[in-house]
Amino acid sequence: MSVSTVATWVVVIGGLLLLCKPVGIYLYRVFTFQPTLLDRPMKPLENVIFRVLHVTRESNMSAVEYGVAFVLTNMVWGIMAYTLLRIQGILPFNPEHFGNLNARLSFNTAASFVTNTNWQAYSGENTMSYFSQFAVLQFLQFVTPASGAAAGLAFVRGLSGRKLGNFFVDLTLVLTRVLLPLAVIFGLGFVALGVPDTLAPYLHVHTLAGQTQVVPRGPIAGWEAIEHLGQNGGGFTNANSANPLENPSALTNILQSIAMGLVPVAFFYMFGLFTGKKRLAWTLIAVAGTLFFVMLAMIYFPEAAGNPIINALGLSGHANMVGKEVRFGMGGTSIFETSTMAFTTGSVASAHDSFLPIPSMAFFLGMFLNMVFGGKGVGLLNMLMFVILTIFLMGLMVGRTPEFLGKKIEAKEVSLTAVAFLLHPLLILVGSALAVATPAGIAGVFNPGPHGLSEILYGFTSAAANNGSAMAGLGASLPFYEIALGIVVILGRYASIMAMLLVGESLLRKKAVPQTSGTMRTDTPLFWGILLGSIVILNALTFFPIMALGPLAEHYLLMAHHLFT
């Protein structure tokens, strides 16, 4: 490992660890309505919004009301986005004169952005007007992560014995107190580091070779800020953060990696403050952190060792630099890709399609788990889902009805949690099976052998996990995928959140049991091990067969120096 690799990792991981406590405390104060620094500028604005919405900071909703508000609000945004994309041609800020999007692509894009997935079946610089980029897509990049965070907040409140809160209040506060201020800071940072932010038309430049080249640009810096802060991941351009105008240097690469993890990690700490169990929060951070390191190692080491077939030919240096940006190097690329898969952002700084099989399994791992910190709020929700399942499975072995935070976990909670757990593999496996079994699905496969299958699996996994990154090479713009993936992103987003909200409410209603030495402790190294073990086993049992057919099979073919011609 080079010095720059180590330095990059230390800055990103160390930065996230250092920031999680102060940011967590800040989040806790904001969402328990205690005074913070931003009260003075933001409170008047919020008060206006609350007055219009007929809510107050003290308003409350039941789990069903909260969930319905969440889904309906998202639906309105989705319809809005769909409509605006369909009539893009007649809207302003369109210097390149892009036309209307067709119905399928508009549906796919609206569904994908409204669910915080940001799967892109189009390339931004050739399809979207500036208006669509900032008024439609960037708007969604603010509000959809905010609504996911709100759902996570409601669940955390339920667990900590508070009322769930009001969706609209939470949504507003996430925007005014978290995303907007942070986006301003990061956006200005990116501008300072050379990311363009303009409404001027694309540049037409004459190259040294004497030809004319079009350089797409636009309001990119602000986009980059919220793209990463909100774990959105949709690129302004098709190349996403591999494009030098989106992510020009090793420094912006580090900043984007930190931006992705900043709020999700702090959310874990905030959970500890809400429940009064900071040790529990650190235990969960340690579990997610361990998985983060596993992913980082799975990505970095095989890539740094290079492709065995090419190495055997003695053709290049060792590292597998295909599809990677030299300005980030292997260290910067691996930390960015680990972050984007762990925090379910889905932006990419390299081509996921050209990674070796073992690193691509790390990508899958991040999306299967969806809780290696995950998106803010939603990642914590998924982590707590595994915590509840683990406590129920293992907790019986201490001879008591399993309980979490003093609340007994009984048939209702277990069933809802198990259903939430079931949904993820359901969407991935059924979606992939449909794609393989139908000619329409198979038509999208351009690579022979296991890699082609991996691409299908990746598409559905990314959609179900609301990650949004793609292993290019799949014909994602085929009607089959536009529609199927559009449906998967919607189900993947709302069904499990709804189930977990009901779990949160059900736990809230229960009387807390005092903790004794007979209670299974959830803040010990032992629990760290048990939780980690059961997360790995439960997911391995679910996804091992498809991993064997995809990346694992490819790995063994690679080891056998098998070539596809």
Binding site: G399, T401, E410, V414, I442, A512, T516, L538, L541, A548
Partner: protein, 674 residues
């Protein structure tokens, strides 16, 4: 419990076996099987592979399909056998008792003292019966008169006979060995221990407890996930060609993955748990109560007598100035020789341990028995000396000039929570005997264990503060409430419950009934009043209040066993994947690299799949003993318990199947099947 069954004639054992087998096959009925989704899936899988066997195109695939079908069928049979076996263990005894009761007739006492033979079923609460040596007791009741030896082996499985004296309870189905008793019947037909036990054992199979329901739900969803994994694997594998995997192998994989181990043993665990409660002679009115006892946070002991051996024992001689310990001991010894009460005997024993036995001469004289009027007892020696021991006040009245030290010593003893007994010769006071309540042996250690498990013990007693506090301190009880009336006990329970705690309590009096009903687990004593027994959700036939501790252990063991087998079941799947996944794709050239996953070195693909299936089936009967007896349990803190069980069932649950499947594959190899 097993003892009585084993003591039955051999033909009964055969009949019982036949009954188990009959039940095993009756339970294969899909409609009955439907209540166990995990095993239902296996049954459906069996039908699918059977159909494939019958329609197979060539001999080799017919053989493979046939073998898979056979193993699947055996897996289902093992599951139904486990349930039938657990049920029969309880029922064997219940049937045995039912027969013995059916034949039992009772000698119903009439008001004039004569008796008539009546049928056992006609006995009602409040009737009095006479039992003579050789009679089988026809119903539950309380001894009014007589002392006799009773053979209770039919219920307890203990062959040693038990002495019954007035106040003791007798249980229907037991046999009187000697003498005769007059018994007042305390239960109506249908409410006896026997009836309740039958209801419990038979009800356990039908009524699921809350935790069982939750676990079943989770197992159902896990099964659904594996159905999903396997059903989608077929189409996804077709990516590599139409014949990548065959259906038989997919069914085999599915059955290996779904939690069949716990699915097969879940109801057996529940039934066996209820049996264990019955075995310690506690009648639980519902499985829910037994399960709840595992969650108890606070244990309320209703009186000092609960934790003491019940009799005060002499522990010290305290002479007044001028009198030696020896003199006092000798006088006490002589005064107590004729005293047959436990207190009297304890004075004799203490004195003999202090005095040289050779120096003791049997006194000659006339014993003076204790009377409520004098509150003294003693002996009038032939030399004219009169030795008396008794209540301090009575002795003070007796002697001429009571030394002030006598009163002071007595008060000091009382302050320590003991009872002072004064001794005098003629009109001279000699000193005080200290009588002390003794805590039952082993209880202190037990309370300490329970403390480690997080259970707080509180003694709520009507006794005076000093006595209560001394006993509580000696027993290591966490908290004590003295001079509490029944309303106070009720309030205490409500207060604890208000803090979210689960409370267990014991009681026997009618005035305990509200508290027993309020407690989450209320253990009533069989000798107690009907009201108490109705209010509690368990009755201890031996009327031993500390039995609650055993019930708590059974409750915990029940949950631990379920958790352990669930964890084991899921942990097992890891090895099965390593056996089956490389094997199932072995016929596809491009996937041949996956054979690197065959870390067990299994010889052939079909052999690997069969080995995993056979292991999956065999593990069920192998774990029946754990399901029926419960996983070994020692009271300790949750963290230590978890660590040990995670190692035993989680870690070893991953390792053992690797060894097992490898071993089975070797054995199959010997028969040319692998």
């Amino acid at each position: 419990m097993a003892t009585s069954a084993m003591e039955q004639p051999k033909s009964d054992t055969v009949a019982r076996l036949r009954e188990i087998l009959y039940d095993t096959f009756v339970k294969l009925n899909p409609q009955i099987m439907l209540h166990n989704p995990v095993m239902f899936v296996v049954e459906v899988g069996t039908v699918v592979t059977l159909w494939l066997t019958l329609t197979a195109h060539n001999a080799s695939s017919r053989e493979y399909d046939g073998l898979v079908t056979a193993i699947l069928f055996i897996t289902v049979v093992f599951a139904t056998f486990a349930e039938a076996y657990a049920e029969s263990r309880g029922r064997a005894q219940a049937e045995f008792l039912r027969r013995s009761r059916a034949s039992a007739r009772a000698r119903l006492l009439k008001s004039d003292g004569s008796w008539d033979w009546v049928e056992g079923e006609t006995l009602r609460h409040g009737m009095r019966i006479r039992i003579e040596a050789g009679d089988t007791v026809a119903g539950d009741g309380v001894v009014l008169e007589g002392v006799a030896a009773m053979d209770e082996s039919a219920i307890t499985g203990e062959s040693a006979s038990v002495i019954k004296a007035p106040g003791d309870s007798v249980t229907g189905g037991t046999v009187l060995l000697s003498d005769q008793l007059v018994v007042e019947i305390t239960t109506d037909p249908g409410e006896t221990f026997l009836d309740r036990m039958i209801a419990l054992v038979e009800g356990a199979a039908r009524q699921k407890t809350p935790n069982e329901i939750a676990l079943s739900a989770l197992l159902g969803v896990l099964t659904l996930i594996f159905v999903l994994v396997v059903v989608t694997l077929g189409p996804i594998a077709r990516y590599y060609g139409a014949h990548t995997v065959d259906t038989t192998t997919l069914v085999a994989l599915l059955v290996c993955l779904i939690p069949t181990t716990i699915g097969a043993l879940l109801s057996a665990i529940g039934i066996a748990g209820m049996n264990r409660v019955a075995k310690i002679n506690v009648v639980a009115k519902s499985g829910r109560a037994v399960e709840a006892s595992g969650d108890i946070d606070t244990l309320i002991l209703d009186k000092t007598g609960t934790i003491t051996i019940g009799n005060r024992m002499a522990t010290e001689f305290l002479p007044v100035p001028g009198v030696t310990v020896k003199t006092l001991a000798e006088a006490s010894w002589m005064a107590s020789l004729a005293d047959t009460t436990p207190e009297g005997r304890s004075v004799v024993e203490l004195a003999e341990s202090i005095l040289q036995e050779e120096s003791l001469r049997e006194p000659v004289g006339e014993a003076v028995p204790f009377s409520a009027h004098t509150r003294m007892s003693g002996i009038d020696l032939i030399d004219g000396r009169r030795i008396r021991k008794g209540a301090v006040d009575a002795i003070v009245h007796l002697v001429d000039q009571p030394p002030p030290a006598l009163r002071e010593t007595a008060d000091g003893v009382a302050r320590d929570g003991s009872t002072p007994l004064a001794v005098a010769i003629d009109h001279q006071a000699l000193g005080i005997i200290r009588l002390k309540d003794i805590v039952k042996s082993g209880l202190k250690e037990r309370f300490a264990e329970f403390r480690a498990m997080g259970i707080r013990t509180v003694m709520a007693t009507g006794d005076n503060r000093i006595t209560a506090q001394v006993i509580a301190a000696e027993a290591g009880v966490d908290d004590v409430l003295a001079e509490v009336n029944p309303e106070g006990k009720l309030a205490l329970i409500q207060q604890e419950q208000g803090e979210g705690k689960l409370v267990a309590m014991t009681g026997d009096g009618t005035n305990d009934a509200p508290a027993l009903a309020q407690a989450d687990v209320g253990l009533a004593m069989n000798i107690g009043t009907m009201a108490a027994k109705e209010a509690g959700n368990m009755v201890d036939l031996e009327s031993n209040p500390t039995k609650l501790l055993d019930v708590i252990e059974v409750g915990k063991q029940l949950l631990i066993t379920r958790g352990a087998l669930t964890t084991f079941s899921i942990a097992n799947d890891v090895a099965k994947y390593f056996a089956i996944v490389p094997a199932m794709f072995a016929s596809v050239p491009i996937l041949r690299g996956l054979s690197a996953l065959n870390i067990m070195g299994l010889k052939t693909p079909h052999g690997a799949i069969l080995s995993a299936l056979i292991f999956n089936a065999l593990i069920i009967p192998a774990l029946i003993p754990f399901a029926v007896k419960g996983v070994r349990y020692r009271p300790q803190s949750a963290d230590r318990l978890l660590l040990r069980n995670i190692f035993n069932w989680g870690f070893l649950g991953v390792i053992i199947p690797f060894i097992g499947i490898w071993g089975i594959d070797r054995v199959l190899g010997l028969f040319g099947l692998a």
